[in-house]
Amino acid sequence: MTIRVAVSVNGTEYVREVEPRLLLIHFIRDDLGLTGSHWGCDTSNCGSCVMWLDGRPVKSCTLLAAMADGRAVRTVEGLERNGKLDPVQQGFIECHGLQCGFCTSGMLMTARWLLDHHPDPDEAQIREVISGQVCRCTGYENIVRSVRWAAEHEGASRMAEDGPA
């Protein structure tokens, strides 16, 4: 038995017939070939699979692809716009916010969401919002700094993207 799923991913519409039990992370990775999001634990603990569903970060290892039907997904592949990196992507480069890169896409999606809703977060707010995700390499310090860097460079970046007001 299969089920029809119509989902917008990073602005592109996809329609697929899938097994009802197919996990969203496997749908995105295996069926759509967007391998930037990762699978790490099965139990919603590690957050390697974080992507956006209708504008909110979710752990896609514990959602079904069917639950995304009619909804909009955004993944790490959708951060870069018109060949220009999102400030959170640039921040992770500037502040060495990644090492092996496995948790990075999930961290980036959470960071983007945070800055969209809290443009000037302090360290405690950043730590709180990424606390549902695990990084085994960085000890979190440089992830916090990366998000702060992005917060401090959001305005400049947007100006550059949109041109002078």
Binding site: D30, H38, F102, I126, S131
Partner: protein, 795 residues
């Protein structure tokens, strides 16, 4: 123009520099094993034993084979027919690929299904019926040698016990003498519990056997691709030149991805049997329950000292739990790894240790998780013992260390077990940490807090690491000397390719190794492509673990660049028509001594080396070199760590308030990357000290099989790290670097534990084993700390 009158010197190679590899990772464009997708690829899944110890009566695969999407079901019997049922481990033991006679730990591999998709492979596992006869299990290492203990390895002819090895280091007689007439002695039993590296990417492989070409290609999560290729050749019978191991981007390793796991071999067998590529990725429970764990060292430490606080001798006895197969990944002459440096950072009169290794009905392993081959255990032992001595003598633990640390003029220092520490300024390193911490102020604050009934603790640790294995005369893995190869080729237009044998798992080799070439040759780091992780593209070497990449392959890179530089000198001499001896080097350029304007850059020389320029006799065209680096000694990084904690006496919850880390890893190639390595290791230390544990119940059931139970530190458990550095270059490393990947993981757990025990001093607590969970701290306050490795209550 420079002061010398020549063109500006090329940009320096060393220093902070953004990582090259970040560009793909922040775009989601990394290529991890599970991202590999080949035409016609099938998926494998492993059936695992629910029992820790059981005889296999029968394995019925009929229903699984009838599943419409199943292509093959492989059992131990199938593999026995291919002579693949057992494989060698890295410690010279054998390990079952798929069990034939018995299962020996919970989670052991029993059968392998190959199907058209991931989910069908899993479905088919449910259709396999295994008839087990459960046997009594040995979960407690301390019971493994009891008379009548169940015999685990009855596959080995003549074996009658679960004993694996006895090993000793130091001088027992001398140590006994010092202990006999010592004014003060302290002793403590302590457990370094079983933990797991738990990289976020689990282990997996894609095997593709081309029947026509006879070529086997394996994409695998491996920290040691060349060693794996050789082992696959020995195990499968496929000739080594027909095997290509590709280790693409690796999502963290920490030692977990050094061994060959049964799943990899099953994927290979699956591809050979079906003729199609087969992917196998384990899930998180499989990773935690069956792949290489770390530690599980039951230790008893003793210190002898004078009343005025001079540490004179250390004695240690260890019971090492190696699980059901002896699969520790370490140099073969060192069954207890580099535990020999249990003498720590102190000038002692005598030292002795004795280690016994045993089999238990638990997953195999023991050497992993950034442990520098058991130096984690050695440092934890000696640093806990020094704190116990400080307690006994009522001395400040930092002061006691300052009285006993090796002095700079004592280097090179031969420790009591014969290891030669290369360099260091230990007192300066500790004093810097104390300054950064504001140590005296912290002690005063602690006193005030205690008077208010608050539990504040300050923990100090000092570690000496021994990394960069190693001199091939002493160090090998399965007979392969631990020297690593490297190749450097400068292209005609002056850019270069460096091929290395070590394998990054996030350490940033593509950047750091390019910087070494930049430093030595003046070619900008961006113009140096670093190739790694593909045995068809890189020279032989033993891979990345034990913090060996910079000490071994980093040295090889510096030397190969210097070889190229000398070749360039010969070419430049032909270009300038002067004697090579009359040329001087500045970064990126050879010039005529006394006439700096007359010179040629590396790019100009590279072009000429590929041209019709007539070269001197004996000088080959082109510009390249190779090197195999055999380290003359290990390198010895050190560090001083101070941890400040607050403990809630009502709940036992520990909060790490501050963590100050001063590391001396010699010359820093890219300080940004070095600091990142330290940060990660400090988080590991908090995890091990406070949270992480693979425990078992009395029947041998694993209690740490998911991230719901195996707790990893998050951003909330970790403080903002405070770092400092001292730099004493390694005298024998070509660029003075020492390696840093594991320093913080080695040095931080005792600082955290010492801090918690210090906080509990008002309760008279001397020791409690890791992890210091709220339950364990609360029990310690009650005077009844738990034995943490077994869920069988207090001893």
């Amino acid at each position: 123009m420079t002061g010398a009158g020549g063109p500006p010197t090329a940009e320096p190679g060393f220093g902070r520099r953004h990582r090259k590899e970040d560009q793909r990772f922040i775009r989601g464009r990394g290529l991890y094993v599970d991202d590999v997708r080949l035409p016609g690829m099938l998926y494998g899944a492993v059936l695992r034993s629910p029992y820790p110890h059981a005889r296999i009566i029968a394995v019925d695969t009929i229903a699984a084979q009838a599943h419409p999407k199943v292509k093959a079901v492989i059992t131990g019997e199938t593999l026995a027919g291919l002579n693949l049922a057992w494989m060698p481990t890295l410690s010279g033991d054998t390990q079952a690929v798929l069990a034939t006679d018995k299962v020996r730990f919970q989670g052991q591999e029993v059968a392998f299904v190959v199907a058209e998709d991931r989910y069908s492979a899993r479905d088919a596992l449910e259709l396999i019926v295994v008839d087990y006869e459960p046997l009594p299990a040995v979960a407690d290492a301390r019971r493994a040698l009891d008379p009548g203990a169940p015999l685990i390895r009855d596959d080995q002819p003549g074996r009658t016990t679960n004993h694996i090895f006895d090993w000793e280091a130091g001088d027992a007689r001398r140590a006994d003498e010092v202990f006999r007439d010592a004014e003060v002695t302290v002793a403590q039993d302590m457990l370094y519990p079983r933990v797991h590296p738990a990289p976020l990417e689990t282990c997996g492989a894609v095997a593709d056997f081309d029947r026509v070409a006879g070529k086997l290609t394996i994409w695998a999560t491996t920290q040691a691709p060349h060693a794996h290729r050789t082992l696959y050749a020995m195990v499968t019978g496929v000739p080594e030149h027909k095997i290509r191991v590709i280790s693409p981007d690796i999502g963290g390793g920490f030692g977990n991805k050094v061994p060959i796991y049964p799943g990899y071999v099953c994927a290979i067998a699956g591809s050979m049997i079906t003729g199609q590529p087969v992917k196998w990725m384990e899930d998180r429970s499989e990773n935690l329950m069956s792949t290489s764990f770390a530690r599980d060292f039951h230790m008893r430490g003793e210190l002898a000292a004078s009343r005025d606080g001079r540490i004179r001798a250390v004695r240690v006895t260890v019971l090492a739990d190696h699980g059901a197969f002896n699969g520790t990944a370490q140099p073969s002459k060192f069954p207890a790894g580099f535990f020999s440096v249990f003498t720590g950072s102190y000038d002692l009169e005598a030292a002795y240790c004795q280690v016994t290794g045993v089999y238990t009905n638990k997953a195999p392993g023991g050497v992993a998780y950034s442990c520098s081959f058991r130096i984690t255990e050695a440092v934890y032992l000696v640093e806990r013992m020094v704190d116990l001595l400080a307690l006994e003598l009522d001395l400040d633990p930092a002061e006691l260390r300052l009285r006993n640390l090796l002095r700079p003029e004592q280097f090179p220092y031969t420790c009591q077990t014969g290891w030669v520490y290369d360099s260091g300024d230990y007192p300066r390193t500790l004093r810097l940490a104390m300054d950064l911490a504001g140590y005296e102020g912290l002690r005063k604050e602690q006193q005030a807090e205690r008077e208010r009934g608050h539990l504040m603790g300050i923990g100090v640790s000092f570690f000496t690491e021994a990394v960069g294995a190693g001199p091939r005369k002493h160090m090998d893995i399965l007979g392969f000397g631990m020297a690593d190869g490297v190749e450097l080729r400068v292209h005609p237009t002056g850019t270069a390719v460096l091929r290395i044998s070590v394998q990054t798992q996030g350490q940033g080799h593509e950047t750091t190794f390019a910087q070494i070439v930049a430093e030595e040759l003046g070619i900008p780091a961006d113009d140096v492509e670093v190739v790694h992780g593909d045995t068809d593209q890189t020279p032989f070497g033993l891979g990345t673990y034990g913090s060996r990449s910079t000490p071994v392959s980093g040295a090889a890179t510096a030397i190969v660049a210097r070889k190229v530089r000398e070749r360039a000198r010969a070419v430049a001499s032909a270009m300038l028509e002067v004697d090579p001896a009359d040329l001087d080097w500045e970064r990126g350029r050879w010039y005529v001594r006394g006439d700096p304007d007359q010179g040629r850059t590396i790019a100009e020389i590279a072009l000429a080396a590929h041209s019709d320029l007539e070269l001197p006799d004996g000088v080959e065209g082109q510009l390249d070199a190779t090197c195999v680096y055999n380290p003359p000694n290990l390198t010895y990084p050190c560090g001083a760590y101070i941890c400040v904690v607050d403990v809630d006496p009502g709940t036992g919850k520990v909060r790490v308030r501050r963590f100050i880390a001063v590391d001396d890893c010699g010359v820093r190639i890219n300080p940004m990357i070095v600091e990142g390595q330290v940060h990660g290791g400090l988080a590991d230390g908090i995890g091990m000290a406070l949270m992480e544990l693979i425990a078992f119940d009395g029947d041998g059931n694993c209690l740490g099989g998911s991230f719901m139970d195996y707790l990893l530190p998050t951003s909330l458990e970790c403080p903002s790290w405070e770092l400092g550095e001292t730099v004493t270059p390694s005298p024998h490393h070509p660029i003075g670097a020492k390696g840093v990947g594991e320093s913080a993981t080695v040095g931080s757990p005792p600082a955290v534990v010492n801090a918690v025990i210090d906080a509990l001093r008002p309760y008279g607590v001397r020791h409690a084993d890791m992890p210091l969970t709220p339950a364990q701290v609360w029990r310690a306050i009650q005077g009844r700390p738990l034995r943490t490795d077994l869920a069988i209550g207090p001893e």
